[in-house]
Protein backbone atom coordinates (compact mmCIF):
# COMPACT_ATOMS: atom_id res chain seq x y z
CA UNK A 1 0.00 0.00 0.00
CA UNK A 2 2.96 2.26 -0.55
CA UNK A 3 1.12 4.95 -2.57
CA UNK A 4 -0.92 5.86 0.49
CA UNK A 5 1.84 5.38 3.02
CA UNK A 6 2.00 3.07 6.02
CA UNK A 7 -0.55 2.78 8.82
CA UNK A 8 -0.32 5.70 11.19
CA UNK A 9 0.47 8.25 8.53
CA UNK A 10 -1.00 11.69 8.98
CA UNK A 11 -4.61 12.21 8.15
CA UNK A 12 -5.41 13.75 4.79
CA UNK A 13 -7.79 16.66 4.58
CA UNK A 14 -10.86 15.35 2.79
CA UNK A 15 -13.59 17.54 1.41
CA UNK A 16 -16.13 14.74 1.37
CA UNK A 17 -17.48 13.15 4.47
CA UNK A 18 -16.70 9.53 5.10
CA UNK A 19 -13.36 9.33 3.33
CA UNK A 20 -10.90 7.86 5.73
CA UNK A 21 -7.38 8.84 6.72
CA UNK A 22 -4.29 7.13 5.35
CA UNK A 23 -4.01 4.53 8.10
CA UNK A 24 -7.59 3.42 7.80
CA UNK A 25 -7.33 3.59 4.01
CA UNK A 26 -4.40 1.22 4.20
CA UNK A 27 -6.42 -1.20 6.28
CA UNK A 28 -9.43 -0.74 4.00
CA UNK A 29 -7.25 -1.51 0.97
CA UNK A 30 -5.92 -4.68 2.56
CA UNK A 31 -9.42 -5.72 3.56
CA UNK A 32 -10.76 -4.91 0.09
CA UNK A 33 -8.15 -6.94 -1.78
CA UNK A 34 -8.56 -9.80 0.68
CA UNK A 35 -12.33 -9.64 0.21
CA UNK A 36 -12.01 -9.60 -3.58
CA UNK A 37 -10.15 -12.88 -3.33
CA UNK A 38 -12.24 -14.37 -0.54
CA UNK A 39 -15.49 -13.51 -2.32
CA UNK A 40 -14.11 -14.79 -5.61
CA UNK A 41 -14.19 -11.48 -7.45
CA UNK A 42 -10.53 -12.33 -8.07
CA UNK A 43 -10.56 -15.81 -9.54
CA UNK A 44 -7.42 -17.88 -10.02
CA UNK A 45 -6.48 -20.90 -12.06
CA UNK A 46 -5.61 -22.79 -8.87
CA UNK A 47 -8.90 -22.33 -7.06
CA UNK A 48 -11.50 -21.39 -9.65
CA UNK A 49 -10.63 -22.40 -13.22
CA UNK A 50 -7.79 -24.90 -13.69
CA UNK A 51 -7.48 -24.19 -17.42
CA UNK A 52 -7.16 -20.45 -16.91
CA UNK A 53 -8.30 -17.71 -19.27
CA UNK A 54 -7.47 -16.48 -22.77
CA UNK A 55 -7.12 -12.74 -23.28
CA UNK A 56 -7.98 -10.98 -26.54
CA UNK A 57 -4.39 -11.13 -27.78
CA UNK A 58 -4.66 -14.92 -27.65
CA UNK A 59 -2.34 -15.11 -24.62
CA UNK A 60 -3.10 -17.09 -21.50
CA UNK A 61 -3.85 -15.59 -18.08
CA UNK A 62 -3.85 -17.33 -14.66
CA UNK A 63 -6.42 -15.03 -13.07
CA UNK A 64 -9.62 -13.11 -13.76
CA UNK A 65 -11.00 -10.01 -12.11
CA UNK A 66 -14.82 -10.25 -11.99
CA UNK A 67 -15.69 -6.74 -10.91
CA UNK A 68 -19.09 -6.76 -12.58
CA UNK A 69 -20.59 -8.64 -9.64
CA UNK A 70 -19.14 -6.26 -7.06
CA UNK A 71 -21.97 -3.65 -7.20
CA UNK A 72 -24.32 -6.47 -6.16
CA UNK A 73 -22.58 -6.58 -2.78
CA UNK A 74 -23.02 -3.22 -1.01
CA UNK A 75 -20.18 -3.58 1.48
CA UNK A 76 -17.60 -4.55 -1.11
CA UNK A 77 -18.87 -1.96 -3.59
CA UNK A 78 -18.83 0.68 -0.85
CA UNK A 79 -15.20 -0.12 -0.13
CA UNK A 80 -14.37 0.13 -3.84
CA UNK A 81 -16.06 3.53 -4.06
CA UNK A 82 -14.38 4.84 -0.91
CA UNK A 83 -10.93 3.75 -2.07
CA UNK A 84 -11.49 5.17 -5.54
CA UNK A 85 -12.87 8.45 -4.17
CA UNK A 86 -9.79 8.84 -2.01
CA UNK A 87 -7.47 8.13 -4.93
CA UNK A 88 -9.34 10.59 -7.15
CA UNK A 89 -9.46 13.23 -4.45
CA UNK A 90 -5.68 13.38 -4.48
CA UNK A 91 -6.12 14.90 -7.93
CA UNK A 92 -8.39 17.63 -6.58
CA UNK A 93 -8.21 20.73 -8.74
CA UNK A 94 -6.99 18.85 -11.79
CA UNK A 95 -10.42 17.92 -13.19
CA UNK A 96 -13.91 19.32 -13.58
CA UNK A 97 -15.90 16.26 -14.55
CA UNK A 98 -15.82 12.47 -14.30
CA UNK A 99 -16.79 10.29 -17.24
CA UNK A 100 -17.44 6.61 -16.59
CA UNK A 101 -16.57 3.98 -19.16
CA UNK A 102 -19.44 1.70 -20.19
CA UNK A 103 -20.45 -0.51 -18.64
CA UNK A 104 -19.02 -1.28 -15.18
CA UNK A 105 -17.40 2.14 -14.93
CA UNK A 106 -20.78 3.84 -14.99
CA UNK A 107 -22.00 2.45 -11.65
CA UNK A 108 -18.70 3.32 -10.03
CA UNK A 109 -18.64 6.82 -11.44
CA UNK A 110 -22.19 7.49 -10.29
CA UNK A 111 -21.32 6.60 -6.72
CA UNK A 112 -17.96 8.38 -6.69
CA UNK A 113 -19.29 11.54 -8.35
CA UNK A 114 -21.90 11.79 -5.61
CA UNK A 115 -19.31 11.25 -2.87
CA UNK A 116 -17.07 13.96 -4.34
CA UNK A 117 -19.93 16.22 -5.44
CA UNK A 118 -18.61 16.54 -8.98
CA UNK A 119 -20.56 16.27 -12.24
CA UNK A 120 -20.37 13.13 -14.32
CA UNK A 121 -21.21 11.61 -17.65
CA UNK A 122 -20.58 8.26 -19.26
CA UNK A 123 -19.59 6.71 -22.54
CA UNK A 124 -21.94 4.56 -24.56
CA UNK A 125 -20.92 1.15 -25.77
CA UNK A 126 -20.43 1.39 -29.52
CA UNK A 127 -20.97 -1.93 -31.28
CA UNK A 128 -18.06 -3.02 -33.43
CA UNK A 129 -15.64 -0.54 -31.88
CA UNK A 130 -12.79 -2.00 -29.84
CA UNK A 131 -10.06 0.54 -30.38
CA UNK A 132 -9.61 4.24 -31.05
CA UNK A 133 -8.83 3.32 -34.67
CA UNK A 134 -12.11 1.37 -34.94
CA UNK A 135 -13.93 4.43 -33.63
CA UNK A 136 -12.31 6.64 -36.25
CA UNK A 137 -13.34 4.20 -38.99
CA UNK A 138 -16.90 3.98 -37.64
CA UNK A 139 -17.20 7.75 -37.37
CA UNK A 140 -15.90 8.17 -40.91
CA UNK A 141 -18.26 5.50 -42.23
CA UNK A 142 -21.46 6.33 -40.42
CA UNK A 143 -21.10 9.92 -39.26
CA UNK A 144 -21.65 11.26 -35.78
CA UNK A 145 -24.01 9.74 -33.23
CA UNK A 146 -24.04 10.64 -29.57
CA UNK A 147 -21.39 8.42 -28.01
CA UNK A 148 -21.08 10.15 -24.64
CA UNK A 149 -24.02 10.93 -22.35
CA UNK A 150 -24.12 13.98 -20.09
CA UNK A 151 -23.13 17.61 -20.24
CA UNK A 152 -19.68 18.65 -21.44
CA UNK A 153 -18.73 22.31 -21.17
CA UNK A 154 -16.12 24.20 -23.10
CA UNK A 155 -12.80 23.97 -21.28
CA UNK A 156 -13.76 20.95 -19.16
CA UNK A 157 -10.91 18.87 -17.79
CA UNK A 158 -12.14 15.29 -17.71
CA UNK A 159 -11.08 12.34 -15.62
CA UNK A 160 -12.07 8.98 -17.13
CA UNK A 161 -13.21 6.39 -14.57
CA UNK A 162 -13.36 2.61 -14.89
CA UNK A 163 -13.14 -0.46 -12.68
CA UNK A 164 -9.89 -1.96 -13.92
CA UNK A 165 -7.00 -1.38 -16.27
CA UNK A 166 -4.91 -4.08 -17.91
CA UNK A 167 -3.90 -2.67 -21.25
CA UNK A 168 -4.77 0.91 -22.14
CA UNK A 169 -6.85 -0.10 -25.17
CA UNK A 170 -10.36 0.37 -23.79
CA UNK A 171 -9.35 3.62 -22.06
CA UNK A 172 -7.86 4.96 -25.29
CA UNK A 173 -11.17 4.14 -27.00
CA UNK A 174 -13.10 5.96 -24.27
CA UNK A 175 -10.82 8.99 -24.60
CA UNK A 176 -11.31 8.97 -28.38
CA UNK A 177 -15.09 8.80 -27.84
CA UNK A 178 -14.98 11.80 -25.50
CA UNK A 179 -12.85 13.82 -27.90
CA UNK A 180 -15.06 12.92 -30.87
CA UNK A 181 -18.20 13.80 -28.92
CA UNK A 182 -16.73 17.12 -27.78
CA UNK A 183 -15.81 17.95 -31.35
CA UNK A 184 -19.33 17.16 -32.57
CA UNK A 185 -20.76 19.42 -29.84
CA UNK A 186 -18.36 22.20 -30.73
CA UNK A 187 -16.65 22.32 -27.33
CA UNK A 188 -13.04 21.83 -26.36
CA UNK A 189 -12.31 19.42 -23.52
CA UNK A 190 -9.12 17.90 -22.21
CA UNK A 191 -8.87 14.37 -20.81
CA UNK A 192 -6.44 14.81 -17.94
CA UNK A 193 -6.21 11.22 -16.79
CA UNK A 194 -7.76 7.87 -15.99
CA UNK A 195 -8.78 6.59 -12.56
CA UNK A 196 -9.49 2.94 -11.81
CA UNK A 197 -10.18 0.82 -8.77
CA UNK A 198 -7.66 -1.86 -9.67
CA UNK A 199 -4.58 -1.53 -11.83
CA UNK A 200 -3.62 -5.01 -13.00
CA UNK A 201 -1.25 -3.79 -15.71
CA UNK A 202 1.89 -4.78 -13.84
CA UNK A 203 3.10 -1.13 -13.80
CA UNK A 204 2.72 -0.82 -17.58
CA UNK A 205 0.00 1.82 -17.04
CA UNK A 206 2.87 4.20 -16.20
CA UNK A 207 3.58 4.28 -19.94
CA UNK A 208 0.02 5.38 -20.79
CA UNK A 209 -0.36 8.69 -22.65
CA UNK A 210 -2.27 10.22 -19.72
CA UNK A 211 -1.65 9.72 -15.99
CA UNK A 212 -3.39 6.68 -14.51
CA UNK A 213 -4.54 6.82 -10.88
CA UNK A 214 -5.51 3.61 -9.15
CA UNK A 215 -7.00 2.87 -5.77
CA UNK A 216 -5.23 -0.48 -5.77
CA UNK A 217 -2.11 -1.33 -7.75
CA UNK A 218 -2.45 -5.08 -7.69
CA UNK A 219 1.26 -5.71 -8.10
CA UNK A 220 2.02 -3.69 -4.96
CA UNK A 221 -0.81 -5.12 -2.95
CA UNK A 222 -0.99 -8.76 -3.95
CA UNK A 223 0.03 -9.92 -0.49
CA UNK A 224 -3.30 -8.62 0.80
CA UNK A 225 -4.94 -11.50 -1.07
CA UNK A 226 -3.59 -13.74 1.69
CA UNK A 227 -5.99 -12.02 4.09
CA UNK A 228 -8.77 -13.58 2.02
CA UNK A 229 -7.11 -16.99 2.04
CA UNK A 230 -4.97 -16.93 -1.10
CA UNK A 231 -2.06 -19.35 -1.08
CA UNK A 232 1.60 -18.40 -1.44
CA UNK A 233 1.55 -20.16 -4.80
CA UNK A 234 -1.33 -18.07 -6.16
CA UNK A 235 0.25 -14.83 -5.00
CA UNK A 236 3.61 -15.82 -6.45
CA UNK A 237 2.22 -16.84 -9.85
CA UNK A 238 0.09 -13.71 -10.22
CA UNK A 239 3.05 -11.53 -9.23
CA UNK A 240 5.32 -13.18 -11.78
CA UNK A 241 2.59 -13.02 -14.43
CA UNK A 242 2.00 -9.30 -13.86
CA UNK A 243 5.71 -8.62 -14.15
CA UNK A 244 6.15 -10.73 -17.28
CA UNK A 245 3.38 -12.86 -18.81
CA UNK A 246 5.70 -14.35 -21.46
CA UNK A 247 6.89 -17.49 -19.61
CA UNK A 248 3.28 -18.43 -18.94
CA UNK A 249 2.58 -18.69 -22.67
CA UNK A 250 4.74 -21.82 -22.83
CA UNK A 251 2.30 -24.76 -23.31
CA UNK A 252 4.40 -26.99 -21.02
CA UNK A 253 4.25 -24.46 -18.21
CA UNK A 254 0.49 -24.16 -18.61
CA UNK A 255 0.00 -27.91 -18.74
CA UNK A 256 1.92 -28.32 -15.49
CA UNK A 257 -0.18 -25.60 -13.87
CA UNK A 258 -3.38 -27.28 -15.04
CA UNK A 259 -2.27 -30.57 -13.53
CA UNK A 260 -1.37 -28.77 -10.32
CA UNK A 261 -4.84 -27.21 -10.13
CA UNK A 262 -6.76 -30.38 -10.94
Amino acid sequence: MSPRGPPGAEQDECRCAGIANNASLYNLGVHFVGSLYQQRAIKTWLRDQPDGWVIASGDWSPFYFAFRDVPSYPQLFGEACELLSSAIEKRDGEFDRLIGVASTGIALTGAVAQMLRVPMGFTRKVIGVRTAEDLQKATNAWGGHSIVEGVMQDGDRILVVDDVITTFTSKATAIAQIEAEAQSRGVHVEVVGVAVVVDRSGKRSAEAPVPVTSAIDLLDELDAMRVGGASDREVDVIRRYLLDPTPFQNPDVRAAMQVEAK
Binding site: S35, Q38, Q39, R40, A41, K43, R47, D48, Q49, D51, G52, W53, V54, I55, A56, S57, G58, W60, S61, F63, Y64, F65, A66, F67, R68, D69, S72, Y73, Q75, L76, I127, G128, R130, T131, D134, D162, D163, V164, I165, T166, T167, T169, S170, R200
Partner: protein
Amino acid sequence: MDIYDLRSLSKHGLRDYSASRVTDLATWCRDFAEASGDARYFSVGDALAALADWWSDHDERGGIPVQVANDLSATITRHLPDVLDAESASDGAQLARLFRFELMAQLGNVEDWIEAGYMTRHKPQT
Protein backbone atom coordinates in the same frame (compact mmCIF):
# COMPACT_ATOMS: atom_id res chain seq x y z
CA MET B 1 -7.39 -10.59 -44.78
CA ASP B 2 -8.97 -12.73 -47.46
CA ILE B 3 -10.77 -16.01 -48.06
CA TYR B 4 -7.63 -17.97 -47.13
CA ASP B 5 -7.68 -16.47 -43.64
CA LEU B 6 -11.35 -17.37 -43.32
CA ARG B 7 -10.58 -20.92 -44.46
CA SER B 8 -7.78 -21.09 -41.92
CA LEU B 9 -10.14 -19.98 -39.16
CA SER B 10 -12.70 -22.57 -40.28
CA LYS B 11 -10.05 -25.29 -40.06
CA HIS B 12 -8.20 -24.33 -36.87
CA GLY B 13 -10.70 -22.29 -34.88
CA LEU B 14 -9.41 -19.50 -32.67
CA ARG B 15 -5.97 -21.04 -32.32
CA ASP B 16 -3.50 -18.38 -33.46
CA TYR B 17 -6.28 -15.79 -33.68
CA SER B 18 -6.48 -12.67 -31.54
CA ALA B 19 -9.65 -10.58 -31.16
CA SER B 20 -8.01 -7.99 -33.37
CA ARG B 21 -7.51 -10.51 -36.21
CA VAL B 22 -11.09 -11.72 -35.79
CA THR B 23 -12.28 -8.10 -36.12
CA ASP B 24 -10.24 -7.67 -39.30
CA LEU B 25 -11.70 -10.89 -40.67
CA ALA B 26 -15.23 -9.76 -39.79
CA THR B 27 -14.64 -6.51 -41.65
CA TRP B 28 -13.36 -8.42 -44.68
CA CYS B 29 -16.43 -10.69 -44.61
CA ARG B 30 -18.85 -7.80 -44.58
CA ASP B 31 -16.98 -5.95 -47.33
CA PHE B 32 -16.94 -9.12 -49.43
CA ALA B 33 -20.66 -9.68 -48.81
CA GLU B 34 -21.44 -6.19 -50.06
CA ALA B 35 -19.16 -6.56 -53.07
CA SER B 36 -20.36 -10.03 -54.07
CA GLY B 37 -23.95 -10.00 -52.88
CA ASP B 38 -23.30 -13.32 -51.12
CA ALA B 39 -25.21 -12.96 -47.87
CA ARG B 40 -23.45 -15.83 -46.11
CA TYR B 41 -20.41 -13.63 -45.65
CA PHE B 42 -22.50 -10.96 -44.01
CA SER B 43 -23.82 -13.44 -41.43
CA VAL B 44 -20.34 -14.79 -40.80
CA GLY B 45 -18.93 -11.27 -40.49
CA ASP B 46 -21.69 -10.30 -38.09
CA ALA B 47 -20.99 -13.32 -35.89
CA LEU B 48 -17.23 -12.75 -35.90
CA ALA B 49 -17.63 -9.05 -35.10
CA ALA B 50 -19.82 -9.94 -32.12
CA LEU B 51 -17.27 -12.51 -30.97
CA ALA B 52 -14.39 -10.02 -31.16
CA ASP B 53 -16.38 -7.32 -29.34
CA TRP B 54 -17.36 -9.70 -26.58
CA TRP B 55 -13.85 -11.12 -26.20
CA SER B 56 -12.36 -7.62 -25.97
CA ASP B 57 -14.99 -6.66 -23.44
CA HIS B 58 -13.68 -9.36 -21.11
CA ASP B 59 -10.07 -8.54 -21.83
CA GLU B 60 -9.47 -5.93 -19.14
CA ARG B 61 -10.70 -8.39 -16.52
CA GLY B 62 -8.57 -11.32 -17.61
CA GLY B 63 -10.08 -12.80 -20.74
CA ILE B 64 -12.42 -15.73 -21.30
CA PRO B 65 -12.09 -19.23 -19.83
CA VAL B 66 -9.97 -21.56 -21.93
CA GLN B 67 -12.89 -24.01 -22.23
CA VAL B 68 -15.12 -21.26 -23.61
CA ALA B 69 -12.48 -20.45 -26.23
CA ASN B 70 -12.30 -24.16 -27.04
CA ASP B 71 -16.10 -24.38 -27.32
CA LEU B 72 -16.12 -21.42 -29.70
CA SER B 73 -13.38 -23.01 -31.78
CA ALA B 74 -15.39 -26.22 -31.94
CA THR B 75 -18.45 -24.34 -33.20
CA ILE B 76 -16.35 -22.57 -35.80
CA THR B 77 -14.63 -25.70 -37.08
CA ARG B 78 -17.89 -27.68 -37.03
CA HIS B 79 -20.04 -25.20 -38.97
CA LEU B 80 -17.91 -22.73 -40.89
CA PRO B 81 -16.48 -25.24 -43.43
CA ASP B 82 -20.02 -26.23 -44.44
CA VAL B 83 -20.96 -22.57 -44.79
CA LEU B 84 -18.03 -21.92 -47.10
CA ASP B 85 -18.43 -25.16 -49.07
CA ALA B 86 -22.18 -24.86 -49.63
CA GLU B 87 -23.31 -25.57 -53.20
CA SER B 88 -25.10 -22.27 -53.59
CA ALA B 89 -25.07 -18.87 -51.96
CA SER B 90 -28.62 -19.39 -50.71
CA ASP B 91 -27.74 -22.76 -49.13
CA GLY B 92 -24.68 -21.12 -47.63
CA ALA B 93 -26.76 -18.26 -46.26
CA GLN B 94 -29.04 -20.69 -44.42
CA LEU B 95 -26.08 -22.45 -42.89
CA ALA B 96 -24.42 -19.13 -42.07
CA ARG B 97 -27.53 -18.05 -40.23
CA LEU B 98 -27.41 -21.18 -38.06
CA PHE B 99 -23.70 -20.65 -37.50
CA ARG B 100 -24.33 -17.07 -36.40
CA PHE B 101 -27.09 -18.10 -33.97
CA GLU B 102 -25.01 -20.87 -32.45
CA LEU B 103 -21.87 -18.78 -32.08
CA MET B 104 -23.64 -15.77 -30.61
CA ALA B 105 -25.49 -17.96 -28.11
CA GLN B 106 -22.09 -18.90 -26.72
CA LEU B 107 -21.04 -15.30 -26.03
CA GLY B 108 -22.04 -15.45 -22.40
CA ASN B 109 -20.89 -13.82 -19.22
CA VAL B 110 -19.46 -14.89 -15.89
CA GLU B 111 -22.81 -16.28 -14.73
CA ASP B 112 -23.04 -18.49 -17.83
CA TRP B 113 -19.50 -19.71 -17.24
CA ILE B 114 -20.36 -20.59 -13.65
CA GLU B 115 -23.48 -22.45 -14.79
CA ALA B 116 -21.36 -24.36 -17.30
CA GLY B 117 -18.94 -25.35 -14.54
CA TYR B 118 -16.10 -23.29 -16.01
CA MET B 119 -15.75 -21.06 -12.93
CA THR B 120 -16.61 -21.00 -9.26
CA ARG B 121 -19.44 -18.83 -8.01
CA HIS B 122 -18.99 -15.45 -6.34
CA LYS B 123 -19.19 -16.14 -2.62
CA PRO B 124 -20.91 -13.41 -0.60
CA GLN B 125 -19.23 -12.48 2.64
CA THR B 126 -20.99 -13.88 5.70
